[in-house]
Amino acid sequence: MPWTKVFLSKDEMERTLAQPGLRAITYCDAILEAQRQAMETDGRVFLMGEGVDDPGGIFGTTLGLVDLFGKDRVMDIPLAENGMTGVAVGAAAAGMKPVFIHMRNDFLPMCMDQLVNHAAKWFYMTGGRVNIPLVVRAIIGRGWGSAAQHSQAFHSLFTHIPGLKVVMPATPYDAKGLFFAALDDGNPVMFIEHRWAFGSVGYVPEEIYRVPIGTGIVRRHGTDVTVVAISQMVYEAMAAAAQAEEDGIDIEVVEPRTLKPLDQEVILSSVRKTGRLIIADVACRTGSVAAEIACRVCEAEPEILKAPVRRVCFPDAPTPAGPTLEQAYYPDSSSILEAVRDLVAENRAFRKPIQRSS
């Protein structure tokens, strides 16, 4: 299906889409278009964020929107992240649908009180009487020495907070489709983007559509190892799969797309088949979503594992600045490939293989 496909090269993309005459745009443009259409069709929607109306336009994702919708709906704001998040929450409670945009996830810790203690709890704490339709867009930065305070990822933290949803599109198609799903969800949704996915190109319908929150997808079918890949890691996993093919190893790439709720079934049914699980995430290892995914498997059917689980994550260290350090810090397709090879070589017997009861 063109809308599930991940393209690693422009060539491949053009070959696939050109023939049926399907439109291909970037992840960045998909988000730009989604916001434009949302504002065209729903007067309650407005964008707020530091520099949303400036010539940079949030890495291009808000470019030109201020000309179409004016400064009230494409609203530059003071550098006051927690307070402004509260403003968004209050506006949402009073019937608006704010989209709060952060150029880096690193600024989210400043908003934690309003996100965690307010937005997340409001619907529950009011006995279901007031909901908060809020989308928080936050982009994970990477590279060129961004260093410890400009390249963090916190999606795992948000999955621990009841009341929040967490979505993390990797492809242009999902970026647009999940944006609309998030916007119409009626709950506070963390919409986490990755800067390195912005240039990726794929099929994106012009009309408005939704990708359901809570539905993962198999990006590549395979039989030997399941690689659950989050966000930009989808591209690394697909590249690893292409390389592994040469070794005769058949990787299945599964993308959860949304982390809370998490589509546990798409992961389980893959691991049932492969018996081997690697989770690749764009975040530090300990306490990551990768841990939650591994845990879900052992809660449900640990017996399907024929090898240890592997996490391909950032190390438990802040992001370094220098190029040699960055290079070592970030896992990529070869880190995944290495894990794949290790696992394929592993075949552990479980100590007491007894029949499953009931």
Partner: protein, 332 residues
């Protein structure tokens, strides 16, 4: 301060409403004290006895549509805005008929039909929310005004400042009402700020700030009217500082001076300035009502509150399963 004090301008109806509201709040809180010892109202109560004039004076200027946000010490504000005592008491008892179906307790009253969009017990937490509701009102081109009630403690928080900055920048229809009772729990304002006046912050945000005797309901009413009118006219926010005193301990039904939290003399001095007694004297002096008239009001209110307590206690408890339900909004 308020021309309501001028004989020529007396609006008997309004004056009696202010009295009624203050009595309702005082008695509402006192009934909690009465029942709290039974230990079946399992919620941390932050009573506002002594602070009734602010709730009454401000809310008398608000319409049903206007937004109200308050904090942990919010019973009075919600009652003044028109909330049903039964829905509050039932909430404190953790029952299904509570305003939040037993999920919120005393610190999180809500009534969207009255513009009470929810309450936060995080100090300073609702200030930006009120500003956000005011932003919504402006973007939606309504005439609604938002009010935030908060304590002196909240003005320690960065969120207070971020909110004032934005409210002023966008000239939002919001009234920021600080109830300065000079303490945050047991910490005196002198241990937290270099000056005990909160109104001093208004200037740096280029908005009007008014310091009021928070025990004088007419002073509060007058200042709030100006602020609400200003907001409704699109002229932006106002900061009101109401100076007053909390009579009971920070949380729970008791007085706190025996525990050494605050000096007994301080309480006694402030009790001399009881907002209800003073207003009562005023009403009698001006002949707005009589001792009999006031007794009738008190009895009426007492009966209503007793019935509310009764209703609350008869309301069923939510089933345990409810604890993990209702986390996410689902579209119908």
């Amino acid at each position: 301060m308020s021309d309501l004090k001028q004989p020529g301008h007396m609006d008997t109806q309004l004056l009696m409403d202010l009295y009624r509201t203050m009595i309702k709040i005082r008695r509402f809180e006192e009934k909690i004290i009465d029942v709290y010892g039974v230990q079946d109202m399992k919620t941390p109560v932050h009573l506002c006895i002594g602070q009734e004039a602010v709730a009454a004076g401000v809310c008398a200027n608000l319409g049903t549509d206007d937004y109200l946000f308050t904090n942990h010490r919010g019973h009075g504000h919600c009652l003044a805005k028109g909330m049903s005592p039964a829905s509050l008491y039932a909430e404190f008892y953790g029952r299904t008929n509570g305003c939040a179906r037993g999920k919120g307790g005393s610190m999180h009253p809500v009534d969207p039909d009255l513009g009470i969009l929810g309450t936060s017990a995080i100090v300073g937490g609702v200030i930006p929310l009120a500003v956000g509701a005011a932003l919504a009102a402006k973007l939606q081109d309504t005439q609604r005004v938002a009010v935030a009630f908060f304590g002196d403690g909240a003005s320690d928080e960065g969120a207070f400042h971020e909110s004032l900055l934005f409210a002023s920048l966008k000239e939002l229809p919001v009234v920021l009402v600080c109830e300065n009772n000079f303490y945050a729990v047991n910490s005196p304002i002198s241990a937290r700020q270099p000056d005990d006046s909160i109104v001093r912050f208004a200037g740096s945000y280029r908005i009007p700030g008014v310091q009021i005797d928070g025990t004088d309901v007419l002073a509060v009413h007058g200042a709030a009217r100006t602020a609400v009118d200003r907001a409704r006219a699109g002229e932006g926010p106002t900061l009101l500082e109401c100076r007053l005193y909390r009579w009971r301990g920070h949380v729970g039904p008791e007085c706190d001076y025996p525990k050494g939290c605050r000096p007994k003399e301080e309480l006694e001095q402030w009790m001399e300035r009881c907002p209800i007694n003073n207003f009562t004297r005023f009403l009698l002096e001006r002949g707005v009502t009589t001792e009999r008239g006031m007794e009738r009001v008190r009895n009426e209110i007492d009966a209503t509150l007793d019935e509310a307590l009764c209703l609350a206690r008869q309301s069923p408890f939510p089933a345990g399963e409810e604890a993990s339900a209702g986390v996410y909004y689902e579209r119908a």
